[in-house]
């Protein structure tokens, strides 16, 4: 019983981490109808950057994160402005394949620079427990992940729902021509959306780097997880992404508690496949397939 309870607690918290990985992908999909295959690699890129800044520039993790975000903003601007904006109107496929190429470039670039070894962002949090009672333990790192995820998702929801910037982005996404007629430069809105996305990916990258070890090629693995959160929660829904992450985390850990930890990932993927086949529009989405 304790094992199950422990699995549920850890699963929910892990789901928070998954959600913050997925939330950027959800934004990009919701706004540009683009599945960013490079999303996982962009996140791992920021894991490496944070690690690099902490080791060589500044020890403070928050300062390193800010530096990472700064670099990633430039990177995000470039890929959106020079690459994606130029193919987004040519249908789904070209944009998808561009991000696919980008994914290969980023992961191989990281491989060239940092080599194949496993890396981590150093932190004490992973070794300490926030709660340790009645056989249930909660790792400080997992707790931090969840809190940050919730905070980021609330912040993003506020930006998208309440600010002029968010309205502009939403308008550009729902009716490009009408937005242009109202003076909204829709391509610029896409750039802003990408900037928000890489910011969340940077935060996710640091948390992932602190929680798990990572390699240059780990990006693809997290892409599937991100995609999972997004699909379960309904493409484009921010709160849904959190729910998606939690369901995925729970499925993995509860499943593993029955079948053994070797099956943790497999169970997660199978749950995802079933959901994709049965309700491809997501669990929360009200949309009906035509």
């Amino acid at each position: 019983m304790d094992i199950l309870l422990q699995s549920i607690v850890t699963g929910v918290l892990l789901g928070g981490l998954y959600a913050i990985i997925g939330v950027g992908m959800s934004m990009i999909f919701g706004i540009m109808r683009l599945t960013n295959i490079a999303h996982g690699d962009i996140m791992i890129l920021s894991s490496f950057l944070t690690m690099f800044f902490m080791q060589h520039v500044i020890g403070n993790p928050v300062a390193a994160l800010l530096l990472t975000i700064a670099v990633m903003l430039v990177f995000g601007f470039c890929i959106q402005h020079f690459l994606i904006n130029n193919v987004i109107s040519k249908g789904d496929e070209p944009a998808l394949l561009v991000t696919f190429g980008l994914s290969i470039i980023v992961s191989n670039g990281l491989f060239l620079i940092f080599g194949p070894a496993a890396r981590g962002v150093p932190t004490e949090l992973i070794r300490t427990n926030l709660i340790n009672a009645n056989g249930i333990s909660v790792s400080s790192m997992y707790a931090l992940n969840f809190v940050v995820a919730v905070a980021v998702i609330i912040a993003l929801s506020l930006i998208m729902g309440r600010t002029s910037l968010g309205r502009g982005i939403r308008a550009a996404s729902s009716d490009t021509l009408m937005s242009e007629l109202l003076g909204v430069n829709t391509k610029r809105m896409y750039v802003y959306a990408m900037l928000l996305t890489v910011t969340t990916a940077s935060i996710a990258g640091m948390l992932v780097g602190m929680t798990f070890t990572f390699y240059p090629t780990t990006g693809t693995q997290y892409l599937i997880i991100a995609f999972g959160c997004v699909v379960i929660g309904g493409m484009g829904s921010l709160v849904g992404t959190l729910l998606g992450g939690v369901i995925l985390g729970l499925a993995q850990l509860v499943g593993a508690s029955f079948l053994g930890s070797a099956y943790q990932q497999l169970i997660g993927f199978l749950v995802l496949l079933v959901i994709l086949a049965v309700r491809p529009q997501g669990l929360l989405s009200k949309a009906v397939r035509k």
Partner: protein
């Protein structure tokens, strides 16, 4: 073979018509003869070109013709490879049986997963097929039947000379080409052409979308499975992470994009460039992949129809015609 390569436009006769009939036979003769005079190094490169051309053709049949952008074709490579390993290494049965079974198992598996993945549209299909492959990788590394994550060393390889393996690869490569040509020249090909042009309109004209796409999916699974067996016959060592790894599909996508999606010639050009570039930068694997990524992005942005698209626009050149012409 003749039937497939020789159908020129009606009313076409004389030298050009003969060239069209003779040239493929001549090229094939040269390729076969290579087994007897080519150096082992040349042959080992040709093996890769042939196998990659085959899997590139199959990805192109899905992505370039049927509108099914899959990132999960590595499922069939892995199944083909494991079939070979299991048949030769564990059951000590002839290699040829492994090739037949590779196709059969791939088709059956494709049929099985078509139930969920064909419910997914567009990008959902793309990622869904990928997740299937990842599931296979995870499952095979926990499955005693496939010897967990250790996989197998395929000793059958050492019973063959490089030239013999080359002939197998050649058969796979040419076979894939013939399959694609046969598909494109059949009723199915006509439907694919229409669907690619305007899916909604093709449905109004009576083209069943589901069935047409499923046929392509199964055909490409069969050939990719066979090519997987050939690739692992050459590689002699198989493990789940590698066998079901996304990098197989990465290469297929690059081959199709660079050569030209939706053309028969494209994957041939793409496979040659892919293998040669990778071989030239053999000691810098990261750089060759980055370079391929850059080339692919540049091509999507500048010339979306690939190298073959550029050649066609300039010259109307076509080695493998699939168009229909009214009889005189």
């Amino acid at each position: 073979m003749n039937g497939i390569f020789s159908k020129g436009p009606a009313g076409m006769a004389g030298p050009a018509w003969h060239a069209r009939r003779i040239a493929p036979i001549a090229v094939l003769a040269v390729l076969v003869s290579l087994a007897f005079w080519g150096s082992d190094y040349l042959l080992s490169i040709m093996i890769l070109i042939m196998c990659y051309m085959a899997i590139g053709q199959m990805w192109n049949l899905l992505g370039g013709y049927a509108g099914l952008v899959s990132l999960g074709q590595q499922s069939f490579i892995g199944l083909g490879g494991y079939t070979l390993a299991k048949i030769t290494q564990v059951y000590h049965l002839p290699v040829i049986l492994a090739f037949v079974l590779a196709a059969v198992i791939s088709v059956l598996f494709a049929l099985l997963i078509s139930i969920p993945v064909f419910k997914m549209k567009g990008v959902y299909f793309t990622i869904g097929t990928w997740i299937v492959a990842e599931c296979l990788a995870l499952f095979f590394s926990t499955w005693s039947f496939s010897n967990y994550a250790q996989g197998y060393t395929i000793t059958a390889t050492y019973a063959f000379s490089t030239a013999q393996i080359y002939l197998v690869a050649l058969a796979v490569g040419v076979g894939a080409l013939i399959v694609v040509m046969a598909v494109l020249r059949s009723r199915l090909g006509l439907a694919l052409m229409a669907m690619r042009d305007n899916a909604a309109a093709s449905e109004v004209r009576g083209v069943e979308q589901y069935r047409t796409k499923l046929k392509c999916f199964l055909i490409s699974a069969a050939v990719t499975g066979i090519a997987g067996a050939a690739l692992y016959l050459n590689q002699a060592f198989i493990q789940p992470a590698n066998a079901f790894g996304i990098s197989w599909t990465v290469s297929m996508v690059f081959i199709a994009i660079i050569g030209g999606m939706g053309t028969v010639e494209g994957p041939i050009i793409g496979a040659v460039i892919f293998v040669l570039l990778r071989q030239a930068l053999y000691n810098f694997p990261g750089i060759s992949m980055m370079l391929l990524g850059l080339i692919a992005i540049a091509i999507i942005m500048i010339a979306p129809r690939g190298i073959m698209g550029i050649i066609r626009r300039k010259t109307q050149f076509e080695i493998f015609p699939v168009r229909r012409h009214p009889s005189a």
